[in-house]
């Protein structure tokens, strides 16, 4: 029961981070700020949610798989952030308020 509550609060906090990241994505002026908001907030949010869900899992195998998912999503997210930043810098787009 307690575990349930902890899990729920972790997921809720994770969701808050996601919301914050999304607000940042929508509100920040240029591409680097947006990336910053997105990668940071989402990375943390994802971790919290994944951890929360892992607490609710039935078996060790399931926990393992959730962690695997977290690992790969985080990796992909980081790579994407890198690619966007790199592309923005190459095309000189980051300076413009777009």
């Amino acid at each position: 029961m307690l575990l349930d509550w902890i899990a729920a609060s972790l997921i809720a906090i994770g969701a808050v981070f996601f919301v914050a990241g999304t607000v940042g994505l929508l509100r920040f002026p240029d591409i680097y700020c947006r990336l910053h908001a997105l990668t940071k907030a989402d990375g943390l949010g994802l971790a919290l949610v994944a951890f929360g869900v892992a607490l609710l899992a039935d078996s060790a195998g399931e926990v393992f798989r959730i962690l695997l998912i977290w690992f790969f999503v985080a990796l992909a997210s980081a790579t994407c952030g890198h690619l966007i930043a790199r592309y923005a810098r190459q095309s000189g787009e980051g300076d413009a308020h777009d």
């Binding site: 790579t79 890198h82 790199r86």
Partner: protein, 326 residues
């Protein structure tokens, strides 16, 4: 007592519709494609919610993943051709004139009318009404597999599935035909971080794809989902230029495209005889045959989807990147 998740359903439903409107309304094509990908993923979520995990997987992997990749590749090509490649968020191919309100209103009204008409018909139909449930339950023991969707796909309605693979084959032939002699947009150099990611992700994807295929006979998953995931391997290889298609590979590629369809059709034909018709697997060999077909079809699907992403058939690379090659 309503299901507590109904709120979630409502929210999801509204989001899906809103995203659909956004996909049509977004002024930037790139944004439209990204919105479309989100739309597809949320739709898949909805289908998972409707106890259709196989469909959700297929939609996420093929309907959204592969389709999204195809769309982005095309957008990239268009911008290359029209010389807009350098702009980070170029406007769409259409002049970005604002659409008059009257047109929007008319479209909305038209849209509403169709929705209304179909909704009336939908609400008049029996909900959760008759279906194949009983027939499938009755036939399952003879199907050779434990998962009903796989049984339908590869046994009860295997004819449909064969033709579906044929559609895929037709698509790749048509694409090769259409794009012959077409020059490529230069693929972007994605840098070291990307290469590292690709190296790490590749084996994991192979494992996941194979796992999906293997699980297909008893649980959600199967040839199409597995094939799509494996196709991602192909996409990664192509994007990271770890694999560059060459003319010499054409024959092998043709063979791989045809492999699944050919094996499927051959098995379907060869089981006939002794009173059995096409597709009528002998019950004791049904599982083996179905697994054989699934395995080969998965390979073909993966290769075909990757080829659809790559587009034109492999041609000799020009010595210099030239606008009009071959």
């Amino acid at each position: 007592m309503t299901d507590p998740l109904i709120l979630f359903d409502l929210l999801l439903g509204v989001s899906v519709v809103a995203l659909a409107v956004a996909v049509m309304g977004a002024r930037d094509l790139f944004a439209a494609i990204v919105l479309f990908v989100i739309f597809g993923l949320l739709s898949a979520l909805a289908w998972a919610r409707l106890s259709a995990p196989d469909v959700a997987l297929a939609e996420a992997a093929i309907g959204t993943g592969v389709t999204g990749a195809l769309l982005l590749k095309t957008l990239h090509h268009l911008r290359y051709v029209t010389g807009q490649l350098d702009q980070f968020a170029a406007p769409g191919m259409t002049p970005a004139e604002p659409v008059p309100m009257g047109v929007i209103a008319a479209n909305a009204a038209f849209c509403g009318l169709i929705t209304l008409g179909l909704a009336v018909a939908y609400l008049g139909a029996p909900q959760g009404g008759p279906g194949f449930d009983a027939l499938v339950a009755e036939a399952m023991p003879q199907s050779g597999v434990e998962h009903p969707v796989t049984a339908v796909l590869l046994n009860f309605r295997a004819y449909d599935t064969l033709m579906e693979v044929v559609v895929l084959l037709a698509a790749v032939i048509a694409v090769w035909q259409i794009e012959r002699g077409l020059s490529d947009a230069p693929s972007p150099d994605l840098g070291q971080v990307w290469q590292g990611f690709a190296r790490l992700a590749l084996p994991a994807i192979v494992v996941v794809g194979t796992y999906l295929l293997w699980k297909g006979s008893e649980a959600p998953g199967g040839a199409f989902q597995g094939g799509a995931v494996l196709a991602a391997v192909g996409l990664l290889l192509l994007l990271s230029r770890a694999y560059v298609p060459r003319p010499a590979h054409r024959g092998a590629a043709r063979l791989l495209f045809v492999l699944g369809t050919g094996a499927f059709a051959a098995v379907a034909l060869l089981v006939t005889g002794g009173g059995r018709v096409a597709f009528q697997y002998p019950p004791d060999q049904a599982k083996t045959l179905i697994l054989l077909i699934e395995g080969l079809v998965t390979i073909s699907i993966a290769v075909t989807l990757a080829a659809l992403f790559h587009g034109r058939e492999p041609v000799a690379l020009p010595s210099r990147r030239d606008h009009h090659d071959t």
